[in-house]
């Protein structure tokens, strides 16, 4: 049997050096681009042209940058939804489902309240109803998590499928409140005009983008500066210490999850007051809720970085989408590049958390023996 004389050893770092916090994500993205370049070369496409086009269509043209910011509006919300839960080591995988409920809650308010209130009041109500519906959708997972310790990963994920069925139900069932009554085609019923915002000029960017920025800032402030945020930090660092300090972990768990659900619900309601104006069954194929988990992971769940990672990821998606339009690059290349960047960014985590060295096998055995 052939023996490999070297072995890779992972040693957990006590403290991550500051320079690595910046260096690792940067190197990860570069490594991903390098990997992508090899792939592009191997399949006969020019890496320089491809990257130039992606960058131009994602960030450097009027349509590119406005489409990127428009997409990031939703992804920032679902991103902080995932990252906020993670502050307490809770995994809300069901942002997608909470977003569906946000569509339903938002559309309900937009239709039921009619065209009586000014937009300035109506839109916040619609957004609020979407957020409440998202929070309601995560209530049961939050409750059983806090009382019985049931895995929120499974329960929130499974509820997403139920949410998708609910969307289909409200659109495909005749006489549904959310369905346009004038046609036998399954069309959503449009919300009142006062519940619809106009996009900026000829772009597809809606004022909800600034709401997303404000919400992101507010959540950052809550976690860093408030007593509630302090409790979250103590619980996530040491549940036992939190218990001795008299912090009610159960109640905090429920609140954190409800807020997380509300943020994804808000994302859904933003689609209602923004580009869609009604429940469109195709929204359940877009995966904006799942993408939020990716955005949070790219920001390493750092709430201060979600805006950056949300815009970066949106730009990649917009630029990747347009690769097909402006070049002959197939869709799979764009998707592969997005995947590679994510994979390398997450893989880079290992370098941040662990001190990695390659040692001779004898040394490794000796080390093990010493432990």
């Amino acid at each position: 049997m052939m023996r490999i004389p070297f072995r890779v050893v992972f040693e957990q770092r006590g403290e991550t050096p500051r320079r690595l916090s910046l260096l690792v994500p940067l190197a990860s993205v570069l490594a991903a681009l390098f990997f992508g370049a090899l792939f592009l070369l191997a399949t006969g496409y020019s890496p320089i042209d491809t990257y130039t086009n992606m960058f131009r269509d994602g960030f450097a043209s009027f349509n590119g940058i406005t489409d990127t910011l428009a997409l990031s509006t939703v992804l920032i919300c679902t991103g902080i939804s995932a990252a906020f839960a993670f502050q307490m080591n809770l995994y809300n995988i069901g942002g997608e489902g909470q977003l569906y409920l946000g569509l339903i809650g938002g559309a309900w308010a937009g239709i039921a309240l009619g065209d009586h209130l000014p937009t300035l009041i109506m839109v916040p109500i619609v957004l609020l109803c979407g957020a409440l519906a998202g929070a309601a959708w995560i209530f049961v997972p939050a409750f059983v998590r806090s009382r019985l310790g049931t895995s929120e990963i499974v329960s929130t994920l499974l509820l997403t499928y139920i949410g998708a069925s609910l969307i289909k139900h409200v659109i495909y069932t005749p006489d549904s409140f959310f369905r346009n009554p004038n046609t036998s085609f399954p069309q959503g019923r449009r919300v009142a005009d006062s519940a619809s915002l106009d996009s900026f000029g000829s772009s597809r960017l809606y004022p909800t983008f600034f709401v997303a920025l404000i919400i992101a800032g507010a959540l950052y402030w809550i976690v860093k500066r408030t007593e509630f945020g302090y409790r979250i930090n103590v619980i996530s660092d040491s549940p036992r210490a939190a218990h001795y300090a008299g912090i009610n972990a159960r109640r905090t768990t429920i609140w954190v999850m409800l807020i997380s659900g509300a943020l994804s619900g808000l994302a859904g309601a933003m689609l209602i007051v923004g580009p869609y104006g009604k429940i469109e069954p195709s929204i359940i194929t877009l995966g904006y809720g799942y993408a939020g988990i990716v955005v949070a992971a790219l920001a390493r769940n750092n709430l201060g970085l979600i805006i950056v990672s949300g815009i970066l990821f949106s730009g990649l998606r917009v630029g990747g989408n347009n690769l097909q339009v402006t070049t002959d690059t197939p869709i799979h290349i764009g998707v592969m590049l997005q995947g590679a960047i994510l994979l390398f960014a997450l893989g880079g985590e290992a370098f941040r958390r662990y001190h990695i060295h390659v040692v001779r096998v004898q040394d490794a055995t000796a080390r093990k023996a010493a432990v």
Partner: protein, 392 residues
């Protein structure tokens, strides 16, 4: 007979367009049609930039594959290259992509899914010089009364057209094959969504089956998905368990056929002629031929006009066809189907020829009449003999 007709049509089209592509250098053989079209379009299609937006990928062996065949023919006939954009999700990202295409100078854009309507209309409004074609669409759905964004029908951009076809004609014919192949008269139908398009197909299939077996029934199982191999398989198996010996489908995968094949039942496919998926089970399939429409629309745009009607194709113009027959469709049945197809094509027969009754026995189409196109497009009832609810 049906096949000959279709083939004849295709040959005629090919001849006309072939001449066009050659630039009419051989004046002696030019027909009047070719001459008129030539003066409209010339043989220079360099101003024509065509793009197609696909909901899936061209090798799905289903809906998108069938459109791809039409696009390939368009490219061959006109000697042009068509831009394909694949896997485009419906919604505002589709709008960004179509906007990008228009900005790149594409002046004829086809979009092959119902959900592209709103984004396509928005882009059409911004690019009046382009021509936009929405497959399976219906422009009236864009009016505010129907939940759309335009106050009146007249406000909808004039450079937006829709195209679809009377699949019910081929559905009816496939029903004949199914009715004749079923000893028990119990048929099953794996159906995607309770929308008029699907309901219309189920009804036409049922009427076709009843034309050879008046007692035939069709049990419907809704999957609530277009593309879901697992769900489709489960639905198919539940219908087989309930005693169906022939399954039809309105889905994008061959899962129904594989399930039928596994228990020795028969299968009517949809979209594509994929007999090889389950040769023993295969009867036939209603399929699409988008090539004639793609070619005629491209020629119209090259000639300076953008078709903006709601185009409803049929077997007569070749948009709707029937696939090849499996071994268990006998000669007599093939002959009957060919005769019926000829009657449909020459207009002497229609699938919903009255009298037609709904599930409760109420007459919905009076004797010797046919439903109006809008009634067909909005069909929301099941005909007598269908088991299940048209409400899903």
């Amino acid at each position: 007979m049906r096949k000959n007709h279709i083939k004849g049509f295709a040959l005629a089209t090919a001849a006309v367009f072939g001449l066009l592509a050659c630039g009419g250098s051989d004046a002696a053989t030019d027909t009047t049609v070719a001459e008129t079209m030539e003066t409209e379009a010339g043989d220079d299609y360099s101003m024509l930039k065509v793009a197609v937006v696909y909901i899936g990928v061209p090798d799905d062996k289903g809906w998108t594959y069938q459109h791809e065949q039409g696009i390939l023919e368009l490219e061959a006939e006109l000697g042009i290259e068509v831009k394909r954009v694949e896997n485009v999700p419906e919604g505002d990202e589709a709008e960004a992509i179509m906007e990008g295409l228009a900005a790149e100078g594409y002046n004829l854009i086809f979009a092959t899914s119902f959900g592209y309507g709103t984004p396509m209309a928005r882009v059409a409004a911004k690019h009046a010089d382009g021509c936009f074609q929405w497959a399976t669409g219906a422009k009236f759905l864009l009016t505010s009364e129907m939940g759309g964004e335009y106050a009146t029908f007249g406000d909808i951009p004039a450079n937006l057209g829709t195209y679809f076809g009377a699949a019910e004609e081929a559905r009816y014919l496939s029903g004949i094959a199914a009715g004749a192949a079923s000893p028990t008269g119990k048929l099953g139908y794996v159906a995607a969504f309770p929308i008029p398009e699907v309901i219309r197909g189920i009804n036409a299939f049922t009427l076709g089956a009843q034309s050879v077996n008046p007692d035939a029934t069709v049990q419907v199982s809704w999957t609530k998905t277009w593309f879901g191999p697992d769900t489709e398989k489960e639905s198919a198996e539940s219908l087989l368990a309930a005693g169906a010996d022939v399954l039809a489908m309105h889905q994008d995968t061959t899962a129904t056929g594989l399930a039928a094949d596994a228990v020795g039942a028969k299968w009517v496919g949809y979209n594509s002629d994929v007999v090889e998926a389950a040769p023993d089970a295969w009867l036939t399939a209603p399929t699409w031929n988008w090539a004639p429409y793609y070619i005629q629309t491209a020629l119209a745009v090259a000639g300076g006009t953008c078709p903006s009607d709601e185009y409803y194709g049929s077997m007569a113009d070749g948009m709707v066809t029937l696939g090849s027959f499996g071994t268990s469709v006998d000669e007599d049945t093939q002959g009957l189907i060919a005769d019926t197809a000829a009657a449909i094509i020459d207009g002497s027969f229609a699938p919903f020829q009255g009298p037609v009754s709904d599930q409760d026995g109420n007459e919905v189409v009076a004797a010797d009449t046919r439903p109006e196109l809008l009634d067909l497009l909005g069909m929301s009832y099941f005909v007598k003999g269908v088991i299940g609810s048209p409400k899903g």
